[in-house]
């Protein structure tokens, strides 16, 4: 089964999104920041979609995305940013790094399901 990786320094968000995915029969793992996200992606080949925050300690989300594409050479995993940021220049940076979509928090379940449907099902 396809796995979803939730990358967010907030355990509240990881719990909320994780609970929602479980309720919808979806499998997931979590990471606490960008560095942890890279480690989890390297170790789990079944990850098909990443839901990633931007503002995180140790490594922010956009840097993580750029490293996923460049350092890990992974261009197939779909990445959606789930963040409080809506700055246009940040979105442009995300697009350039291969981010497929953007959700401004607080998240709505239907938006996440829509992303899953469009990108990995």
């Amino acid at each position: 089964m396809a796995k979803i990786l939730i990358v967010d320094d907030s355990s509240t968000v990881r719990d909320q999104v994780g609970e929602f995915l479980t309720e919808n029969g979806l499998d997931f793992i979590t990471a606490v920041d960008g560095k942890d996200g890279l480690v989890k992606l390297q170790g789990e080949p079944d990850i098909k979609l990443v839901l990633c925050d931007v503002n995180m300690p140790n490594m922010d989300g956009l840097t993580m995305v750029e490293k996923v594409r460049s350092d890990l050479g992974n261009t197939s995993v779909s990445i959606i940013m789930l963040t409080t940021e809506s700055n246009p220049s940040m979105k442009e940076r995300g697009k350039a790094a291969g981010v497929k979509g953007w959700i401004v928090k607080p998240f709505r379940g239907e938006s996440v399901l829509s992303a899953i449907k469009k990108l990995i099902e």
Binding site: D15, G94, K105
Partner: protein, 322 residues
């Protein structure tokens, strides 16, 4: 009161002269002040129950005699030095100079016949900073939305914003996050009572603890802080303006847990909002205080609400596919 906004401030009124109540009350009503009168044999203990005041009005005979009133004011100053105190002198004794030691207690004095020093007092010490209306309105909107998104089972309401000079921390748990822009530099702080917040969260059916409860509450407050901060930035901070020339000055923050006191190294009054989370099913409610402390810079002339075009408008929570 700031002419730009409908801000208020709470002032303690230590005055037993019944004949002056109406005039003082009228002054307060006309100038955005909420007057709180204390009838107590122990003013200091009662004072401790108020944590978000803007100043104190005290009458020269409140404690019986001028000397006793000066003593009381000295004790109040020692306990709450951030609160400015203005003395109401009796008209008859106004010509007599005050004892030298009283200069340390009172920032000024007035008589009931001449309230102009009171106007000066509130302009200089309470409403000394002008906050744009759009900022006040916007903060309330984004904070209520952010709180409501995390407390779905409760009804979130906002009180009128007010100005505070106190430095007392409410409750046991607070979050702090910097705010940086070309027009403001400082912090946003959220404060609440852990036990009350816990009772709301526990009563919310379906909340699963993945960690020990107090960390869960910490994380919840942290996420609310993050949501408000993000929305504040999206609405009021243009990240592209003048980044290279922004000041990097910092001052230490000092927290004294024993005395529930926090200092931001600034004498500036603070902008305060209070939100109430009410669980209508149980009647439980929780207060969350939100402070904005622009201790490093506040230049309202540069403030601008970011205008979003219709094309750019994606509701929060909605997926924008690239």
């Amino acid at each position: 009161m700031s002419s730009d906004t409908n801000l208020v401030s709470k002032v303690l009124i230590l005055d037993n002269a019944v004949e002056h109540f109406d005039k003082i009350k009228q002054f307060c009503d006309e100038n955005g002040l909420i007057g709180l009168r204390i009838h107590s044999n122990n003013v200091l203990r009662t004072l401790n129950s108020y944590v978000d005041l803007g100043g104190i009005f005290i009458a020269e005979d409140y404690a019986g005699t001028l000397e006793k009133t000066i003593e009381l004011a000295s004790s109040i100053r020692a306990s709450r030095p951030e609160l400015p105190i203005i003395l109401r002198r009796n008209v008859a004794s106004n010509a007599e100079p005050l004892p030298e030691k009283s200069a340390r207690c009172f920032v000024s004095s007035y008589t009931i016949d001449d309230l102009s020093p009171l106007h000066q007092f509130i302009e200089n010490y309470i409403f000394s900073v002008v906050y744009p209306n759009a900022l006040i309105r916007g903060i309330t909107e984004i904070s209520v939305q952010s709180l409501q998104s995390q407390f779905k089972a409760q009804v979130v309401t906002a009180n009128a914003p007010y100005i505070v000079r106190d430095r007392i921390i409410f409750g046991e748990v607070f979050s702090l996050i910097p705010l940086e822009s070309n027009w403001c530099r400082g912090y946003m702080m959220l404060q609440t009572e852990e036990s009350i917040l816990d009772s709301l969260v526990v009563s919310d059916v379906g909340i699963q603890y993945s960690q020990t409860p107090f960390r869960e509450l910490n994380n919840l407050l942290g996420e609310v802080t993050n949501l408000i901060w993000g929305a504040f930035k999206n609405r009021f901070i243009n990240e592209d303006i003048d980044r290279a020339n922004r000041s990097v000055t910092q001052v230490p923050l000092v927290v004294n847990h024993q005395n529930k006191y926090i200092s931001f190294g600034s004498e500036n009054p603070q902008l305060c909002f209070k939100y109430t989370l009410l669980d209508e099913a149980t009647g439980l409610f929780c207060s969350i205080y939100q402070w904005f402390i622009f201790n490093l810079d506040f230049t309202p002339e540069l403030f601008e609400e970011i205008q979003t075009t219709v094309d750019d408008l994606i509701d929060s929570g909605e997926l924008e596919l690239f």
